[in-house]
Symmetry: C2
Subunit: 501 residues, 2 copies
């Protein structure tokens, strides 16, 4: 490694350390910080963000980056050095093109929007939120223009969450999936035949839920020497480095499945972060590829593995043992079907595998329209409700259970939603390839063993860090472009069997 | 407030925020960080320290400080502005005079010394530790010379923990106390009359210990909206700002008193930090005066209040209720006497009020001799054991229960020990003045009410932040210099009564 790359890496490591420190400030805020601590914590986060941003976008960082780029100009496109500098350049451009003034205006507006959204949601009145959403859209447009875009302004925002991805790539994938999922959901829910979930309507001891959660974490291979699980209002995963990746969950006595699947989901995220390349620690490569790839991990574990028949063949007896007398009349297969019940609901975060993506399409389409000006903020409720009627055949009863349910837009996170469905599509592609390479995986799942799958993920996904974009990674791993084939096939077979279609 | 002071305060606030962030990195390390997290955490702390030090000692900070100093040159010595800039100047000088090279050498040596000390202590062999202690003494001498000193080189180190204090002030105080405590300890332990503590040799439910701890915290006035209590290997208090002051404790089934008095002690520290002036947030004034003043708070609550007869008259019935059947034959007075049992022991942290300071004198005298070169590191065990024989009449069985018991020197913290006894002396002076001003305090203690004492402390001690030095504060609050009179009187009366001297 040349001296200029070396000097650049030293500089970059400082940026990573600042961001890891910021992650701790946020983690603590969500878990243990006492109520009034926020009065100082907001300042901590704001100032550390300022330092981190200043450090990255400084002329010193740029000149070290340029030096390293010219020193490694002859390297192979797929070398670590070239991949590292491409990743660094992407981050640098994104952060340095947006003016500090805009960053501050966005932060200020998002902070106001957050409390306005809370009020609007509580009163179920989108009119309260409409004005500030309009401002957010305006600021995001400014931001997109500063970053630069070719096809659509929206793409600049999408790129913040899914580097190098464009709506031109996403649109046909989502259209294809929509044409498949809308009739599938109608078919399942229209037949008047529903799986039984009555036995889930009981109180389940939180202590036993915890015990089961930790059993699953251990089985999945989550390294508790490099992580821990705490309680927070909303489950999340945070990573300070592969040496310290923490997850959270929340327990509710009247819901056995909520903590359980949140644990599997967050553990999927955490396994990715724990598997990032340690020999690239604090370089631009010791990072996840994108939100879509991250979500492909959590959703593969949660849905493809965690809601599979072999999984519950193995684990349901444990559940029965942990909640004695409560599930004696239930067999593994009934439990498997119960955790895969499909229903047309209003709330995205409560949706099943079949309807989930329909919720995403609605948000994605509305976001794009807001950004190209074909829809104004005030018209969001009508557009929202019309799409729910069209895709799901249901009519949201009010704004609170409708277009005010998600916090993303209030935070200025336009371009985030499609990564959820990208994650679903990619999960099926990756899993398909994994069992092609290692056919023992489903059998191992049936014995509560996940080391085969985890090894495959470590080797093919986690270990590369951010060397490839999501499209490059899929091509490299699966030998094909991103496509909906495996995901459609997976859903068709699974739900065809459960609902006897 | 002038524009230059304003500009300086903005700059200083950034320094405070960096230090508060460092406090969170350390707190998390001691409480929740998973085992392997240390591999990244050490880098976090080291880099944030570098930023914090660089920020403080930069030419920009200096020129803003000088600007503010000249702008406020005409202000009264006791004005907030003048006090703030004096405090800032003290911190600035201390940090900027020590070269970065020495800071790094000290950090490196201390890190080595820490593991060497662990090994030496485990093997109870001071010879293993002697070499690195000698290096530490050498580096501390270099540090003292860089900082500068007048009377004794040791004073430069003392000043780091107790600003503006010198050994010339301490020596006569400690000599006076020694001449009183050595015979007092001999007298108490020589009479063959001991208080009964048999009933403490039981197992006490940790759940009930916790409940009692939180009862005490609430009674003392610890604001749990601005704090929390967690578990750690060694109890400590950490403050991110008065909005977020956290304490820790540790529980052991076979020791009722350990968690209990650590809770009262740390709560005493925390009440000080929660009471620092909020209108001076993130200025040099929103800081404790010194370790001695901090310790005066923890020790006043732990010993003068928490080991008093009125305290246990009120709380012992609660203890009896929480541990049903375990203390039925014990009355409040017996419990009071048991928690004040005096014994000649080898271990400082287990010592009672009477012998505690003797342990401190021994370390203080040895530190001074190490720094003036009259004692070499290799001769510490002999000096140590000789002093234990002379002051306490006991002979340490080995180095592990002798001169290897404390970690302070391995950390390079020479000049720290005397602040413990300063805290004891000051606690008695402050408490004496408090009950002179508010004679209802002891009666309130007997009813489990502490608001009178806390109000007095808030007004007279906490609320000033670091505007005064410890000597100035004592003079201002008590109208006298620091002196041992009230402390001697307190010990004499209390232990005279308990041991019928």
């Amino acid at each position: 490694m040349g001296p200029k790359l070396e000097a650049f890496k030293k500089r970059w490591a400082e940026y990573e350390i600042l961001n890891q420190t910021l992650s701790l400030l946020s983690w603590d805020m969500e878990t243990y910080m006492p109520e009034e601590g926020i009065k100082s914590r907001a300042e901590h986060i704001s100032y550390l963000n300022e330092i981190s941003h200043g450090h990255l976008t400084s002329s010193k960082t740029l000149s070290l980056l340029e030096g390293a780029e010219s020193e490694t100009a002859g390297h192979d496109y797929y070398s670590d050095e070239a991949g590292m500098l491409r990743a660094a350049r992407r981050v640098f451009e994104k952060e340095s093109r947006v003016s500090e003034d805009l960053v501050k205006r966005l932060a200020r507006t998002a902070s106001i929007a957050n409390s306005v959204w809370i009020k609007a949601r509580r009163e179920s009145d989108f009119g309260i939120f409409s004005g500030v959403l309009s401002e957010i859209v305006g600021l995001c447009s400014e931001k997109a223009d500063m970053i630069g875009w070719e096809g659509r302004r929206y793409d600049a925002l999408l790129d913040l969450h899914e580097p190098c991805m464009t709506s031109a790539v996403i649109d046909p994938l989502f259209e294809d999936l929509k044409s498949f999922l809308v009739p599938l959901a109608a078919d399942i829910t229209g037949r008047g035949r529903q799986v039984n979930t009555d036995f889930l309507a009981q109180n389940f001891s939180i202590k036993s839920q915890e015990e089961f959660g930790f059993m699953i974490l251990a089985a999945m291979g989550y390294d508790l020497k490099r992580g821990r699980q705490d309680i927070s209002a909303h489950p999340f995963t945070t990573s300070f480095s592969p040496y310290d990746v923490r997850i959270t969950t929340r327990y509710s006595e009247d819901s056995l499945l909520s903590a359980l699947f949140s644990t599997v989901h967050e553990c999927g995220h955490a396994l990715y972060d724990q598997g990032l390349p340690l020999d690239k620690l604090n370089t631009p490569l010791c990072q996840p590829v994108s939100l879509g790839i991250h979500e492909s991990q959590s959703r593969m574990w949660e849905n493809i593995v965690g809601r599979s028949r072999p999984f519950w063949n193995h684990f349901f007896p444990e559940v029965r043992r942990l909640f004695p007398g409560q599930l004696d009349d239930v067999d593994p297969d009934s439990f498997y079907r119960a955790v895969n019940r499909v229903e047309k609901g209003f709330i995205r975060v409560e949706a099943d595998e079949v309807t989930y993506n329909l919720h995403v399409f609605i948000r994605y389409e509305i976001e794009k329209s807001l950004m190209d000006g074909s829809l104004s903020a005030g018209d969001v409720p009508d557009a929202w409700n019309e799409k729910y009627r069209r895709y799901l055949g249901i009519n949201p009863p009010d704004d609170s259970a409708g277009c005010l349910q998600d916090i993303h837009w209030a935070h200025g996170a336009i371009g985030y939603f499609p990564t959820y469905t990208l994650g679903n599509i990619l999960a099926a592609q990756f899993y398909g390839k994994a069992i092609e390479d290692a056919p023992a995986i489903p059998g191992e799942t049936g014995r509560g063993i996940f080391s085969g799958l985890l090894s495959w993920l470590r080797k093919n996904i986690h270990g590369h860090g951010s060397k490839f974009t999501s499209e490059e990674l899929v091509r490299r791993v699966c030998g094909t472009d991103m496509n909906t084939g495996p995901y459609r096939k997976y859903l068709e077979e699974k739900y065809g069997e459960i609902y006897e279609l």
